[in-house]
Subunit: 325 residues, 2 copies
Amino acid sequence: MTIREDEIIASLATFFREHPRVSLGPGDDAALIVEIPGREIAISIDSSYEDVHFTLDTLTLREIGHRALAGALSDLAAVGAEPLTFLVDIQLPRRLASRAPEIYEGMEELMNAFCVSPCGGNLSRGDKLGLSVVVVGEVTRGKAISRGGVQPGDLLVITGDIGRVRGWLLAEELGLSRSYEPWLRRLREKFARPWPALRQIQRLAMDVNLHAAIDISDGLGVDSWRLALASEVELVIDPEQLPIDDSVRMIAERAKRPPWEIALESGEEYEVLFAISPEDEPKLSRLNFPATVVGRAREGRADSRIIVNGTEKSLSSLGYDHFAG
Amino acid sequence: MTIREDEIIASLATFFREHPRVSLGPGDDAALIVEIPGREIAISIDSSYEDVHFTLDTLTLREIGHRALAGALSDLAAVGAEPLTFLVDIQLPRRLASRAPEIYEGMEELMNAFCVSPCGGNLSRGDKLGLSVVVVGEVTRGKAISRGGVQPGDLLVITGDIGRVRGWLLAEELGLSRSYEPWLRRLREKFARPWPALRQIQRLAMDVNLHAAIDISDGLGVDSWRLALASEVELVIDPEQLPIDDSVRMIAERAKRPPWEIALESGEEYEVLFAISPEDEPKLSRLNFPATVVGRAREGRADSRIIVNGTEKSLSSLGYDHFAG
């Protein structure tokens, strides 16, 4: 049985909803978004590919869809934008041709939570599954947060907790992933169903001046280094302060590795690292979500460093690199 | 020798230029585009993958880059939008890691011709080369052209000529492609360096009311059928009127197929099919680029048909389908 491209696209059309700002949606060559004066459109693309970012035996198609949209929305969180709509480009193997709607089904919870729906996309055949999600958001002109604003003396703060994604991958490497222990499920939860820090950053920005922010999609290690480069300051991360879940400590023990190392190299967490003035620190404790001070910025070379047992080292290489190694 | 992801990204940064409407460009989690009242943002994504849309022994990396951007810009042409900026998502095999700049080099001619430059992107490792280009354009509010406006009685007009892309693929199948005959070069030219019909559509829209338009990226056959569906009219294409280059007639003879069939199934031509009132036809002849009447719309079922030797047949299946067959 073969399925036609137009039939697959029609099966996805049920996920497309009208949006007051989208004046021409899917089914045309381009989508149209009505502009508003005094605002800026924020746009970003994020991709995930079978056997690079995931395998089909560790994640369901729904989870793959969820993660792809979560990752793209996290880029909007990092610049302080509010989501408007998104486009999905799918590279679909023939063997999955009739199952494409499951990818969109996996996106529905995030679509409902953040009031977004797709406005367009693209479909091609591929040997392996690939997903690119383009998110379109909006921010008041001049209010976007960039990577370039960290000031010496600033505190570095991170949303949520870190390490569980790398922890889950370690559990798989160690052959523990088929077990049903609760701490393994805690690891898998962050890997399979990450939640972008959109609300947290919007809430924070109401009370606090966020000097700079970055989505730590490649891990706090390498991404804090990228933040240091963009802001031309030196960052010092304190391994003792990292927000690490007990489940990560469990896997660290089994892997005979320090938990802070797992936390620093854990990518696709979709948490946001941001910089604030020290006088704003007391406001963090009044929030009803985790926001943890993990380090500090100082004058120096553009680098991110960690001090372990009195020895400093650069974090520039601690994270996922698609081409290294 | 390995190359780091950040090094590859840095090697691409030379292609990024400042744009008055792009307030935050590459190097951040999202790009920002300043909004203007009374306008609409047009956005589209178009992808091409090794061994699906091209192979590395038939196209250079520069040509692959050129085609990817041309295809995406063509979507903006079809809705009558003017390009602002674009984002490129690259899936890069390790074997090509140091050659990524060639892809952008291939885009430079189009970047210069249409005053666009990239504002962001994404880079992942992949087994095969893949390119997704997201284009962002702009149109005066309410002035965009959709697929849904064809009226019974309208003339169907196409920019440029059609058939050379499919003609080139036939030349490859027949083993003729290594020859240097001029007509083969004419075929390859359209395949390797298509040019989006942006200027033509903008010029046309100054004089003529374009009722509807579609980018014929999957071929005039299936895409005219999609136009018919969206507008709920019946379209009749006249095979005698199709703008077919002599080079296509040469390959048609060798392949023992009618030239019109090759023209109708030829995809990735990036020409635009549009509908106008018959009274606007005389204005077409005053243009200094080809715009050919190829058919007519009439009341009837939503379908696109062709009459050959007195027999009518539907064009719904004549074109490239990623999943059929």
